[in-house]
């Protein structure tokens, strides 16, 4: 069992607060991704788990033991670095064996483990190569093998695919996911690439300005973002300005709709994904709009809609559905209450 817990950790550099009183519990064997724009504190959070930074406040608990003050070499966690950080003077075999030597493994054990690792990342043929004799993708595989070799309780990955080209990145995403399944280890993955996060993770923690805005699985995160930031950061979203009288309803263009929410401000923002906007009468929440444009985008088509007060709404639908609407036509759209959210504006 390896349970990782961050309890109220904060970290400042100079006068700027990078991580702000952050709590996070990571389950055993989980693939957790910390997702956020650059400068949101995700890498700093990872570095505090690895031990390269010490939190100003709070605790990092590994199996209920506070490791926040331990140096990196005393923590049973390993990191895959963004720039690979392979030791340039050592060959592939020596790079992978480095962590094993520190664990004082015998020669035969070390050799066996190195071969296992090389097989795992399919790099057997490169055993005696030096890092500069390999491509970025190959170096990344070695970096992963090196980090896994000492059998850490938790594997930390700091934007490991950031430097690879798109095609290789897709392939490595798949392989990492497979690796996670095979190893049954806890992975903490840091990225700013939402698609990468959505495809690979069990759970995603979306970070912004030093705090976690939402922690949930990919699907919940996509369909029901908890905050306006998350809604805007992930995927495409319609954010429609609405008026609020009480927590049981909202009004839009002089019509009041019943909808329970927790918002207390006078003005709110209604969220709905473009693909969830419907032309069928599936709900009580109905709005009159005019079709401004219809754009064909391969596997789907995009409607640009405009309301009476001039607010823009995007609707997408599968291009296999027959096109029955024309530009300039007035239509009614229906929003399912299960698929909308209301945030403070």
């Amino acid at each position: 069992m390896s349970k990782l817990e961050l309890k109220g950790i904060s970290k400042s550099f100079g006068s700027s607060l990078i991580v702000n009183n952050l709590d996070l519990e990571i389950q055993d064997g989980e693939f957790l991704t910390i997702l956020g724009p650059s400068g949101c504190g995700k890498t700093t959070t990872l570095r505090m788990i690895a031990g390269f930074e010490t939190p100003d406040k709070g605790q990092v608990l590994l199996n209920n033991q506070d490791i926040s003050q331990l140096p990196p070499y005393k923590r049973n966690v390993n990191t895959v670095f963004q720039n690979y950080a392979l030791f340039p003077h050592l060959n592939v075999e020596e790079n992978i064996a480095f962590g094993l030597h520190q664990k004082k493994l015998s020669k035969s054990e070390t050799n066996k483990r190195v071969d296992e690792m090389l097989e795992l990342v399919q790099m057997e043929a490169f055993k005696t190569r030096k890092p500069f004799e390999m491509s970025g993708g190959q170096q990344q595989r070695v970096a992963i093998a090196r980090a896994i070799a000492p059998d850490p309780e938790i594997l930390l990955l700091d934007e490991p695919l950031g430097a690879l080209d798109l095609k290789l990145r897709k392939q490595m995403q798949f392989e990492l996911k497979q690796l996670h399944k095979d190893l049954n280890k806890t992975f903490v993955y840091v990225t700013h690439d939402q698609e990468e996060a959505l495809t690979m993770s069990d759970r995603i923690a979306v970070m912004n300005q030093g705090i976690i805005e939402q922690l949930s699985d990919s699907q919940t995160l996509y369909n029901l973002p908890k905050t306006k930031f998350v809604a805007g950061f992930i995927g495409e979203a319609n954010l429609i300005l609405v008026q609020i009288e009480n927590q049981k309803s909202f009004s839009f263009e002089a019509k009041t709709y019943e909808f329970e929410h927790k918002n207390i401000d006078k003005q709110g923002v209604l969220f709905i994904r473009p693909e969830n906007v419907s032309f069928d009468a599936i709900s009580e929440i109905a709005m009159k709009v005019t079709i401004e444009d219809v754009i064909f985008v391969g596997n789907h088509r995009k409607y640009k809609l405009v309301t009476a007060s001039g607010q823009k709404i995007i609707k997408t639908e599968d291009s296999s559905v027959a096109l029955t609407k024309i530009i300039g036509q007035s239509v009614t759209i229906y929003l399912s209450p299960n698929l909308i959210q209301i945030y403070n504006s």
Partner: protein, 281 residues
């Protein structure tokens, strides 16, 4: 560009090298296998006596060995002093790095002789060091052994050649990415192991090239010994100077020069082979 015009462009450089490098060496080489008459005048007969003298007369081979030992001491001392200094500037200094770097290079702006004389002022019997010790009551009589001794010569040479060693070492430190140090610690190595296994191997080419430079420069130095040396401090270059001057045995002087040159070439070759072997990009 046509081939011929390429050669035309490089011609001034080749001419320069021929006139001021190749020609003098050829001259020295030729002179080293000539003889002298009773008055020290060079006679044009083939004669290897000079070389035989170097390897049979203890004055020559012992001085050559001693100079080598001095050079090794100077090179090692420069390396030992440079390592923490360069490490500090490369890894610990975050602000005003160029200021510290300039401090290392600063002595280059002054002439060698001025700096050597400065040590005379510091180390002499009436010098700064002795005055300070007398004043503070550590000693009653001024120490006389610190100037005009092996000690003062080596001290001066170490001081003069330190930047030559420090700069390549500093450059190699600078090239080490911080993430390599982090990766090493991440994989369980403490600071000392990280230095031994990761940092030191990566700066070794810099250490070798800096050390070789100090070694070679010390081998050819005669000023420090003549300004600060004692009666027994004799560098091989002092002998060469003497052979061309008062002793007036130009063939022997040339022969010593040739032997020294061959040794230096050997050293440079070994050093550059080592660097090639440890290339990392």
């Amino acid at each position: 560009m046509k081939k011929r015009s390429k050669y035309l462009l490089i011609f001034p450089l080749l001419l320069w090298l021929f006139l001021f490098l190749v020609l003098p060496y050829l001259f020295i080489l030729t002179q080293s296998i000539l003889a002298t008459d009773d008055f020290g005048k060079v006679v044009y007969t083939l004669n290897f006596d000079s070389y035989i003298k170097i390897f049979t007369n203890p004055l020559y081979y012992e001085t050559l060995t001693r100079t080598f030992i001095y050079a090794i001491i100077v090179a090692l001392a420069c390396i030992v002093l440079s390592l923490p200094l360069a490490y500090f500037i490369a890894f610990k200094v975050t602000k005003h790095k160029s200021f510290y770097y300039t401090l290392i290079v600063l002595p280059f702006w002054m002439s060698y002789i001025v700096r050597a004389y400065a040590w005379k002022i510091i180390l002499g019997e009436q010098g700064v060091l002795n005055s300070f010790f007398m004043y503070s009551g550590v000693i009653k009589k001024p120490l006389s052994f610190i100037l005009y001794s092996d000690f003062s010569v080596l001290l001066c040479l170490i001081y003069i050649f330190l930047p030559f060693v420090c700069i390549p070492i500093y450059t190699s430190f600078e090239q080490i990415s911080k993430s390599l140090v982090e990766a090493s610690k991440d994989l369980g190595a403490n600071s000392w192991t990280t230095f031994r296994k990761i940092i030191f191997p990566l700066i070794l080419p810099g250490v070798i090239s800096g050390g070789t430079l100090a070694l070679v420069l010390t081998l050819g130095d005669f000023l420090a010994a003549s300004l600060l040396g004692g009666p027994n401090t004799l560098f091989i270059s002092n002998i060469v100077q003497n052979l061309f001057g008062t002793s007036n045995d130009k063939p022997l002087g040339s022969a010593v020069g040739v032997v020294l040159l061959v040794l230096v070439f050997l050293l440079l070759e070994i050093s550059s082979r080592y660097e090639k072997k440890h290339e990392t990009q």
